[in-house]
C-alpha cells in the first residue's frame, strides 16, 4: 500500500552569522495511513525542524528547505505553490505545538479561533462554524463548551488550551496530525489525558499521527514505529517493540538506559556523557562518536549510513557495518 506520507532525503538549513547549520541533513521516512510514528531525540536534533519543513513553516529567510521531497497523498509538498500548500495546511495536514499557553491568540475568543479553519477549509457559514466549534470543544472533553467558546485564552489552563489546540487541529478531519512535543509543557496527569485523547481521535477517524517527543515513556505508549534522530540525521529506526527490546545504536541504548524505571532505585540516573555537537563544527564522521563508548577509528573519519539489520530495524553505526564486512 502506498504510504500516506513519504519524506525523502530532506535537507533543511539555517543561515546564521557563524555559518550554515544543517538542521535536517538528509532524512527519509514514511508514515502509513492510521499509523503512529514517533520521532525521538534530544533538544536541537532537528525533530521540530522536520515538522516545520513538512508544514512549510520554516522561518524564512534564515531557514530554507534545500533539498528532498515530501510526498503527501499525491502531492509533493515542497513543489506546491503557497496557495496550494495553504489549502492542505490545517485541512488534511494539521499540527499542534509544544506551548499551548502561547499558541493561541490572546485577543481573540477561543470559539473564533476554532471557527477559522472550519470556515476556511470546510466552507461553513459563521453560524454553522460556531455550532461546530462548540461541538468540538465538547469532544475534547471540556465541560460548559458554550462558555469556553466565549472566553479568551488567558482564562484557561495549559491543559485546556492544549485540548483547544487539538480541537482546532482535528476540526477539518486531517489525514495526518503532527504533534510536536504536545505534552512537554503540561503536568503529568494532564499529559496522560492529552495522549489518550490523541489516541481516541486517531482510532475513531483513522488519521495518522506523527508524534515528536523526547519522552521515551510517551513513545512506548503511543508509537507503532520509532525514528531516533541525532544531530539532524536518523541514527536508528524500527518497530516500537523490536527497538525497545533490542536497541542497536549506542545512542538509542543510551537514551533507553537514561530513562528512570519505576520501582528500581539507583544511586544515580544514567546519562549519556557529553553534549550534542555544535552543528557548525561537524565533519564527515559519526556525529555521536565523541560520546560513544564503542568509538573506533572509522567513526571519527567516515559517516556511517543507515543500514537495514533484518527484523525491520535500521541503524547508522559502524559496529554493524564492521560485522557485515567480517561475515
Amino acid at each position: 500500500m502506498k504510504p500516506l506520507l513519504k519524506v525523502e532525503n530532506l535537507h533543511t538549513e539555517f543561515r546564521t552569522d557563524e555559518g550554515t547549520v544543517k538542521a535536517v541533513d538528509g532524512i527519509s521516512f514514511q508514515v502509513r495511513a492510521g499509523e503512529t510514528v514517533c520521532i525521538v531525540g534530544e533538544s536541537g536534533c532537528g525533530k521540530s525542524v522536520t515538522a516545520m519543513s513538512m508544514m512549510g513553516l520554516v522561518e524564512e529567510p534564515a531557514g530554507k528547505v534545500t533539498g528532498g521531497a515530501i510526498t503527501f497523498g499525491d502531492d509533493d509538498l515542497l513543489r506546491l505553490n503557497k496557495h496550494e500548500l495553504r489549502a492542505i495546511r490545517g485541512h488534511e495536514l494539521a499540527m499542534i505545538f509544544q506551548e499551548p499557553m502561547s499558541s493561541l491568540n490572546p485577543v481573540l475568543k477561543i470559539g473564533e479561533q476554532i471557527m477559522e479553519p472550519l470556515m476556511l477549509h470546510l466552507k461553513l457559514k459563521r453560524k454553522e462554524a460556531a455550532a461546530h466549534a462548540v461541538e468540538l470543544i465538547r469532544q475534547v472533553g471540556i465541560s460548559r463548551p458554550e462558555q469556553i467558546a466565549a472566553s479568551y485564552p488567558h482564562e484557561l489552563s495549559g491543559g485546556m488550551l492544549q485540548r483547544i489546540m487539538i480541537a482546532i487541529a482535528v476540526s477539518c478531519s486531517p489525514k495526518l496530525l503532527i504533534a510536536d512535543e504536545p505534552t512537554t509543557a503540561l503536568d503529568v496527569t494532564i499529559q496522560a489525558q492529552i495522549l489518550d485523547m490523541l489516541r481516541t481521535f486517531k482510532e475513531s477517524s483513522g488519521m495518522s499521527l506523527l508524534l515528536i517527543t523526547h519522552d521515551l515513556g510517551v513513545v512506548a505508549e503511543m508509537a507503532d514505529y520509532v525514528i531516533v534522530m541525532y544531530a539532524g540525521k536518523i541514527v536508528e529506526e524500527g518497530e516500537v517493540t523490536a527497538l525497545f527490546a533490542d536497541p542497536k545504536h549506542p545512542y538509542t541504548r543510551g537514551l533507553l538506559k537514561s530513562k528512570p524505571v519505576m520501582g528500581r532505585r539507583t544511586e544515580e540516573l544514567y546519562s549519556i556523557p557529553g553534549q550534542v555537537p555544535n552543528p557548525l563544527e561537524l565533519t564527515p564522521s559519526c556525529y555521536f562518536h565523541d560520546r560513544c563508548g564503542h568509538c573506533m577509528e572509522v567513526c571519527v573519519s567516515r559517516e556511517p549510513l543507515l543500514q537495514p539489520l533484518g527484523n525491520g530495524q535500521k541503524a547508522a553505526c559502524w559496529l554493524y557495518e564492521e560485522a557485515k564486512i567480517h561475515v
Partner: protein, 317 residues
C-alpha cells in the same frame, strides 16, 4: 470597575491640585510681570495698576483667588488682550486642533501601513529604503524643512500659499472658505506629518516584528490562513496594543498647538498665542493654558487606560 474609577478620579483631582500649585508658584515667582515690562508707565501708575489687578496681595492669597475662580470655570482675563482667557482659547485652540487632528490621523495611518509592511518584509529593499527615509525625516529640524518647503512650493512654484489660514483680505464663505483653509493648511500638515512619522513607524515596525515571532502567528499559519488574514487579523491587533499608551499622550498635543510650526506658517493657533503672551508676561493666560495642558494630560492617561480595557481582554480594571 466603579471602585477603580472612583479611586482613579480621586488621584486625578489630587494630581491636578498639585499641578495648579506648581504652575501658579512658578509663574508668580518668575521675575517681572505684565506691568514692569511697560516702560511708558510712571511709578505711581504702575502701583495703581498693581492695586487694580491685585498683584500687590501676598502670593498665597492670590493663589486662593485664582483657584477659587478656576474651580468656577473662570480662568481670568488676559491682561494684554482684555478678554476672558477661556474665550481666547476658544478663538485659537480649534485652529491648532485642525492642524493637529489632520496630521495626527495621517501620521498614524501612514505609520501603521509602512510599519506593518516593513516588518513583514524585514531587511528587504523596501524596508531598507523606509528606514533610511525615516532617519532622514527624523533628523531634519522642523524650521529647516518648513522653510525649505515654503521656498520650494510656495515661493518658487507658487503651488501653495506660504502662510496664514486664509488669504489676506479674503472674505470667502462656504465652500470657497473651506477650500482656502485646506490650501493653507497643506504645508504645515505635511511638515508635521513628516516629523511625527519617523518615530511612530519605527514603533509599529518593531512591535510588529515582535508579534510576528509569536507562537500564535505560527498557529495561524498552520491553520492555512492567508498571509493577509495572519497579518491583519492575528498580528496587527496585538501589535497595536502597546500604541494605546501613545494615544493618551496625543490628547494634549491635539489641543496644545505647535509653537514652531505655527510660527513658521503664521498659523493663528494657540501656540502662537502662547508665544506672544509669554513675551508680554500675560500670566493669567499662560497659567490657564498650562493648566489646560495638565488637565488634558491627566485625561489622556485615563483615556488610554480605558482603551486598554476595551482592546485587551487580559486587562481588568
Amino acid at each position: 470597575m466603579s471602585t477603580y474609577l472612583s479611586k482613579r478620579l480621586l488621584y486625578m483631582i489630587l494630581i491636578l491640585f498639585a499641578a495648579s500649585l506648581l504652575i501658579f508658584a512658578l509663574y508668580a515667582n518668575t521675575p517681572g510681570d505684565f506691568i514692569t515690562g511697560n516702560i511708558k508707565l510712571t511709578a505711581e501708575r504702575k502701583a495703581e495698576l498693581r492695586e487694580i489687578y491685585g498683584l500687590n496681595k501676598p502670593m498665597l492669597e492670590r493663589y486662593g483667588i485664582w483657584l477659587k475662580n478656576a474651580l468656577h470655570g473662570d480662568f481670568g482675563y488676559s491682561l494684554a488682550q482684555q478678554k476672558p482667557v477661556l474665550q481666547l482659547f476658544n478663538d485659537y485652540i480649534w485652529n491648532s486642533f485642525l492642524l493637529a487632528a489632520v496630521s495626527t490621523f495621517l501620521t498614524w495611518l501612514i505609520a501603521v501601513v509602512i510599519g506593518v509592511i516593513s516588518a513583514y518584509r524585514q531587511y528587504s529593499w523596501f524596508d531598507t529604503l523606509v528606514m533610511i527615509g525615516i532617519f532622514a525625516a527624523m533628523s531634519l529640524p522642523s524650521f529647516f524643512i518648513g522653510l525649505f518647503l515654503i521656498k520650494m512650493l510656495a515661493v518658487d512654484l507658487q503651488w501653495l500659499p506660504p502662510g496664514g489660514m486664509i488669504t489676506t483680505g479674503s472674505n470667502a464663505t462656504g465652500m470657497a472658505y473651506v477650500k482656502e483653509v485646506i490650501q493653507h493648511m497643506t504645508l504645515p500638515v505635511v511638515v508635521m506629518t513628516l516629523l511625527g512619522l519617523g518615530s511612530l513607524t519605527r514603533y509599529f515596525r518593531s512591535g510588529m516584528i515582535d508579534v510576528l515571532r509569536q507562537d500564535y502567528i505560527r498557529t495561524a499559519r498552520a491553520k492555512g490562513l492567508s498571509e493577509r488574514k495572519v497579518l491583519f487579523r492575528h498580528a496587527l491587533r496585538n501589535a497595536l496594543l502597546p500604541a494605546i499608551t501613545l494615544v493618551g499622550f496625543e490628547l494634549p498635543s491635539l489641543f496644545g498647538g505647535s509653537i514652531i510650526i505655527e510660527q513658521i506658517f503664521n498659523w493663528p493657533g494657540v501656540g502662537q498665542l502662547y508665544m506672544k503672551s509669554f513675551g508680554l508676561r500675560d500670566y493669567p493666560l499662560l497659567m490657564g493654558f498650562t493648566m489646560l495642558l495638565a488637565i488634558l494630560t491627566v485625561l489622556g492617561t485615563l483615556l488610554s487606560d480605558m482603551l486598554y480595557r476595551v482592546a485587551d481582554p487580559r486587562v481588568r480594571l
